[in-house]
């Protein structure tokens, strides 16, 4: 098959055109000769490989135009740093993930020696165009990993990624805004620890968890520098973009509105909590309507954890199962599980489903919602404080086939004893599943935590070498905690440890462990 002259297809013009003639095209593979004989530094060899990939993808049904952009290079192995003489560029389609095309590229010299090889990802130009607020698309490799675990398009997808990234960005905007509003930027022209800063502002120690979050957030965004506990302004704070980010985020997914509202409430409460005029609990927990909207599966931001955990539970649910849900809150996790089981036609596997929640107001609402949706199911509702001995609260040892909770276990005052209680409630072979946001690394700040950092119940947890932060834990901390509870087959669904190579933010996952 003859292939058109590359110079007529590429957007490049001399001297940037590095390919001369296509000498082989088999549909998913294209080989081209070089335009000249060098000398070629390795970046030029890589660029030639990318141009060849562009020609190959441009020739595909539904392929990309010559305005396509390079999203990334990966696994580029460099055999020769500089090379002279004509070369051959080879591009082979590796796979297509949504709008992204991944191609293997290789460059050989005239004698057939491999000079360079790697993978290039090509994307439509819109993926890199300047929008009111930039969001870097999730690495296609991450979607491939998620698909391999059965998360084909839901709940993880490009729209969800954009919406989650914008919430993170908004949290950063609020942090910068608080920094300006409270005059912290002026104080941070000299190095200050969080404690020195709050003393300089005349604030009480109760604000330290939230203030530390704020300083870490600004550091992560490159606005502060941090060394030995002290923070200082690395550059002037940029112009505020919060309203823009919020608007863009709500356009991306209007269901995230409660998540933005909660962040706004936290920002409004920050100074009053700092001055001791109110507590985080008083300022935030009184907003019942907001919490009801937030802890709802119609809020796709919060529903993410529920949906992921529900899948992990449904995958592990055997016949005639005795199920115990802890910290059920307003019932959204239970609702997600029952939806999942109904979709699979496996609701009949539930022999008994005990829904527990210590807050009466929440429990009653959960009962109304779940009983209303599934009146024929063997549902029971009761009180369980996970921090107190479970048997004394009516949960007999070895009585449950599955114990689970979403965003519950990270709130345990002392995680190990609580996991031990959960493991003790399991019959042999039973599963413990914790739906959690997973902190990517011990020092990574997570935007979603900001409101909760104002709540004493969130921050007053036992910290030691096994758990270094209040709030979300890392994958490794969860794995080790489950192992200490005597659980086996410990796994995270999806595998966030592998996903971390492609995404450095918080990920929703279910931590699963089995009683031997």
């Amino acid at each position: 098959m003859t292939f058109p002259d590359p110079a007529t297809l590429l957007r490049h013009r001399p001297p940037a055109v590095l390919v001369r003639e296509v000498v082989e095209f088999t549909g998913d593979r294209l080989v081209a000769t070089s335009n000249g004989a060098g000398p070629w530094a390795w970046p030029a060899l890589l660029e030639g490989g990318a141009q060849t990939a562009g020609l190959l993808i441009g020739a595909q049904q539904g392929g990309l135009s010559n305005r396509a952009v390079i999203a990334d290079y990966r696994n580029v192995v460099i055999g020769a740093v500089t090379h002279q003489g004509a070369v051959r560029f080879t591009a082979t389609i590796d796979r297509r993930i949504m709008a992204f095309w991944l191609c293997q590229i290789a460059v050989h010299d005239a004698g057939g020696a491999l000079l360079l090889e790697g993978i290039v990802t090509l994307a439509p130009p819109v993926m890199m165009s300047r929008t009111p607020v930039e969001v870097v698309p999730l690495d296609p490799q991450a979607y491939a990993l998620l698909a391999a675990e059965g998360f084909e398009d839901e709940p993880f997808n490009a729209d969800q990624h954009t919406a989650c990234e914008l919430i993170e960005r908004y949290a950063g905007e609020l942090a910068a805004d608080l920094c300006r509003r409270e005059g912290l930027d002026a104080l941070l022209t000299t190095g200050q620890t969080a404690d020195e800063l709050r003393r300089a502002c005349g604030w009480g120690p109760q604000i330290l968890p939230a203030l530390s979050w704020l300083l870490a957030r600004l550091t992560a965004d490159g606005m502060l520098a941090h060394d030995g506990g002290a923070y200082w302004l690395a550059r002037p704070l940029p112009a505020p973009r919060g309203p823009e980010v919020r608007q863009y985020g709500l356009e991306a997914d209007p269901s995230y509105a409660p998540a933005y509202e909660l962040l706004d409430e936290a920002a409004r409460a920050f100074a009053a909590v700092a001055r001791g005029e109110t507590t985080g609990e008083q300022a935030l927990l009184g907003k019942l309507g907001l919490w009801i909207r937030y802890f709802d599966n119609r809020n796709a931001y919060y529903a993410l954890n529920n949906r992921v955990a529900a899948r992990a539970v449904a995958d592990r649910l055997g016949d005639a199962a005795q199920v115990l849900e802890v910290g059920a809150g307003l019932g959204s996790a239970g609702e997600a599980l029952l939806d999942e089981l109904a979709a699979r036609g496996t609701l009949g596997r539930v022999a008994a489903y005990q829904v527990t929640e210590p807050v009466q107001l929440f429990r009653r609402r959960a009962e109304r919602v779940l009983s209303g949706l599934h009146p024929a199911l063997p549902l029971r509702f009761g009180v369980l404080d996970v921090n107190e001995p479970w048997e004394a609260q009516g949960i007999a040892p070895a009585s449950q086939h599955l114990v689970w909770g979403v965003n519950v276990f990270h709130l345990a005052h002392d995680l190990d004893p609580v996991l031990a209680e959960a493991a003790g409630a399991l019959a042999p072979g039973g599963w413990l599943i914790a739906g959690e946001g997973i902190r990517p690394a011990g020092d990574t700040v997570v935007g979603a935590e900001f409101p909760f950092r104002l709540l004493e119940s969130f921050t007053s947890v036992r910290l030691d070498a096994t758990r270094r932060t209040p709030g979300f834990l890392t994958a490794e901390e969860w794995q080790a905690a489950f192992a200490r509870a005597g659980l086996t087959e410990v796994a995270l669904v999806p595998d966030v440890v592998r996903l971390r190579a492609y995404y450095r933010g918080m990920l929703a996952a279910a931590v699963c462990g089995r009683k031997p």
Binding site: P15, P43, E47, I70, D72, R74, I78, V136, D227, P238
Partner: protein, 108 residues
């Protein structure tokens, strides 16, 4: 008092060099080719490892926004980690105070 983020190495890229890299890429819309950005990142990464270390691979190079020639393009090597197959350096390109690309560069 330090005012810049602590890094292992930092270097500015002259506008003229960026313009040269953009020649023909593209007419009336100069954008630094990603492969050449990878090359720039490897250069700054090399400043963060032992002299004589051999560039072995670009493990990842991700482009966040298009890079156009300007007077404020800065390369930084953020960290270097000794791993089984050599030293891996995390490097970034910043323009106008914004990160535009990042890479993991491995040296043998």
């Amino acid at each position: 008092m330090p005012t810049e983020r602590p890094v292992l190495a930092r270097s500015a890229v002259p506008r003229a060099r960026l313009e040269a890299l953009c020649a023909g890429h593209f007419p009336d819309d100069p954008i630094v080719p990603g492969a050449y950005i990878a090359g720039l990142l490897a250069e700054v990464a090399a400043l963060a490892v032992e002299p004589g270390a051999r560039l072995a691979a670009i493990e990842r190079c991700k482009f966040l926004v298009p890079l156009r020639p300007s007077d404020d393009v800065v390369l930084i090597a953020v960290s270097a980690t000794g791993e089984r197959y050599g030293t891996v350096v995390w490097a970034e390109v910043h323009a106008g105070g914004e990160r535009t690309a990042q890479a993991l560069v491995r040296f043998a």
